[in-house]
Amino acid sequence: MATQHSKTAARLMISPAVILLFLWMIVPLSMTLYFSFLRYNLLMPGMESFTGWDNYYYFLTDPAFSAALTNTILLVVGVLVITVVGGVLLALLLDQPFWGQGIVRVLVIAPFFVMPTVSALVWKNMFMNPVNGMFAHIARGLGLQPFDFLSQAPLASIIGIVAWQWLPFATLILLTALQSLDREQMEAAEMDGASALDRFLHITVPHLTRAITVVVLIQTIFLLGVFAEILVTTNGGPGTASTNITYLVYAQSLLNYDVGGGSAGGIVAVVLANIVAIFLMRMIGKNLDA
């Protein structure tokens, strides 16, 4: 595979993808960078002026920023924990022989196909609504006071909705990984006197690390950008209780039309995302090579 000819060909073949992605990254990003040093409000065109680090100062000292940072982390970690733990358990269950596997798998996978907007709308209105929602009906049926999910536990509710969407994805990848576990390895462990729990802890879990890493990586990419769910359900509120960085930048640039501030926020978000990315890549790189 390593002739000079094929190396040249490879470079040629990979360049369209690399060049396109590079442009896609660099062009808007440099414009954003430029805007981030301007005082630029969409509603006041022609008044742009250079403001130095002002936008960054205001974005970073905005109390909403620290809240958004915390929320972003909580959201990502929360969903990851739920989907990975739930996914492992569910995968273990679905890996057993039982009647109607095909249909069950079809049902379980379904939430993954649902548009984020739709799932947020459905959960918000049909389930979490404290007056007409399914949960409220059930609570009243049990003689309890309906719980107002979106104002009392906004972030948790959003985590729940997002986790519902991503659970199938995690489950499927983990299930595939589980099915690839060498049967002889399990039997060897059984011969070695390992109980079912031992086998799970010492054989299954290590075997799944690779799959879990992949689930974490992919989901993090998407979870950092969770937006529609927040926009539809809580608008980031009450207060900033469910504002994440993405939503904060959105609010800054598209609700306040403060393009300068929004751009500064965007750059901050890019920096943060890259920190996460580097961290993740390290972890993944190690796990994927092995």
């Binding site: 060498d182 039997e187 060897a188 462990a189 059984e190 011969m191 070695d192 054989i203 290590p206 690390t209």
Partner: protein, 332 residues
């Protein structure tokens, strides 16, 4: 201790009867080899003994106790798998220690036994590697190490050498034989390799379609195959089997003669034939000879025998080495 007795053991997978009914006695300290064509049920039988499959009927006794219902871990047997089934995320040391950890043994005792096993198997320098960083033979040894440390009543091997290359196989074969000699533990060994079966076994069990065709020492099977199946299966190159008038002369439906029991001459002999392919190995020569009215006969001569494609040769079977079989395939 490691006496294993199978009584009327049957195994069905759904409709398919894999082992119709089987009795077998394995004495303590014996090296028993299961051979047979692919799909004849060797692995299944081993797994029944291990407890990895339930018997459909019958009884398995280990050291006189009924083990039929026991879970694998309780039977006190150790198994070495064809794929080695090492735990890829654990170091060699952890792999070997795993059964002991599961048995909740003291850390020092574990340490002691592991380093002991490592010494026996020449693994001391590799204890901190992962299986992925080992060669085939080393992996094989780790798998054996994992079996040894438990000091089991018997070892079960399922084609443990089939993934190794030829040279390594010879080495590992000797190592396992030596291990058996030093541990004196019962070993049950599945293989489809002639040489392994002949050289390692105290007792060979020839299986065919889940049935035992013959049980005996390697030389018994070589000298006195009980039927056509065993005759054709044991020995390499295969015994020449001849039917028709030539067999009738000896009062049999089929006669068999091994390649090494045919004398070869350029001048005279019982049968005249023409050389097809000749294979010169230096130490031996294998000739494939076409004789009228017979299948191509394989003949082996020691050293170099200078013939070529198309040459004419005479063959004479050694009279006392002719095997005679009846119409039912049984030896007469």
């Amino acid at each position: 201790m490691g006496k294993i007795t199978l009584r009327n053991v049957q195994k069905r997978f759904g409709e398919a009867v894999v082992i119709p009914s089987l009795d077998l006695d394995i004495e303590d300290g014996e090296f028993v080899v299961f051979v047979g064509p692919s799909g004849c049920g060797k692995s299944t039988l081993l797994r029944l003994i291990a407890g990895l499959e339930d018997v459909s009927d019958g009884q398995i006794m280990i050291d006189g106790r009924d083990a039929t219902e026991m879970p694998p871990a309780k039977r006190g047997l150790a198994m070495v798998f064809q794929s080695y089934a090492l735990y890829p995320h654990m170091t060699v040391k952890k792999n070997i220690a795993f059964p002991l950890r599961m048995a909740k043994m003291e850390p020092q005792e574990i340490e002691r036994r592991v380093s002991n096993a490592a010494k026996i198997l020449n693994l001391t320098n590799y204890l901190d590697r992962r299986p992925g960083q080992l060669s085939g033979g080393q992996r094989q040894r780790v798998a054996i190490g994992r079996a040894i440390v438990r000091e089991p009543a018997a070892f079960l091997f399922d084609e443990p050498l089939s993934n190794l290359d030829a040279a390594l196989r010879v080495n590992m074969r000797l190592e396992i034989t030596e291990l058996h000699q030093s541990l004196e533990t019962t070993m049950i060994y599945v293989t489809h390799d002639q040489v392994e079966a002949m050289t390692m076994a105290d007792k060979i069990v020839v299986l065919n379609a889940g049935r035992i065709e013959q049980v005996g020492s390697p030389l018994t099977l070589y000298r006195n195959p009980a039927n056509l199946f065993v005759a054709g299966f044991i020995g390499s190159p295969k015994m020449n089997l001849i039917e028709g008038p030539e067999a009738a002369k000896h009062g049999a439906t089929t006669i068999g003669i091994r390649p090494e029991h045919i004398d070869l001459s350029r001048e005279t002999g019982a049968w005249q034939g023409e050389v097809g392919v000749s294979e010169h190995l230096g130490s031996d020569t294998f000739l494939h000879v076409h004789v009228a009215g017979m299948p191509t006969l394989t003949v082996r001569t020691g050293g170099e025998f200078g013939v070529h494609h198309g040459d004419r040769v005479w063959l004479t079977p050694q009279a006392d080495k002719i095997h005679r079989f009846g119409a039912d395939g049984k030896a007469l």
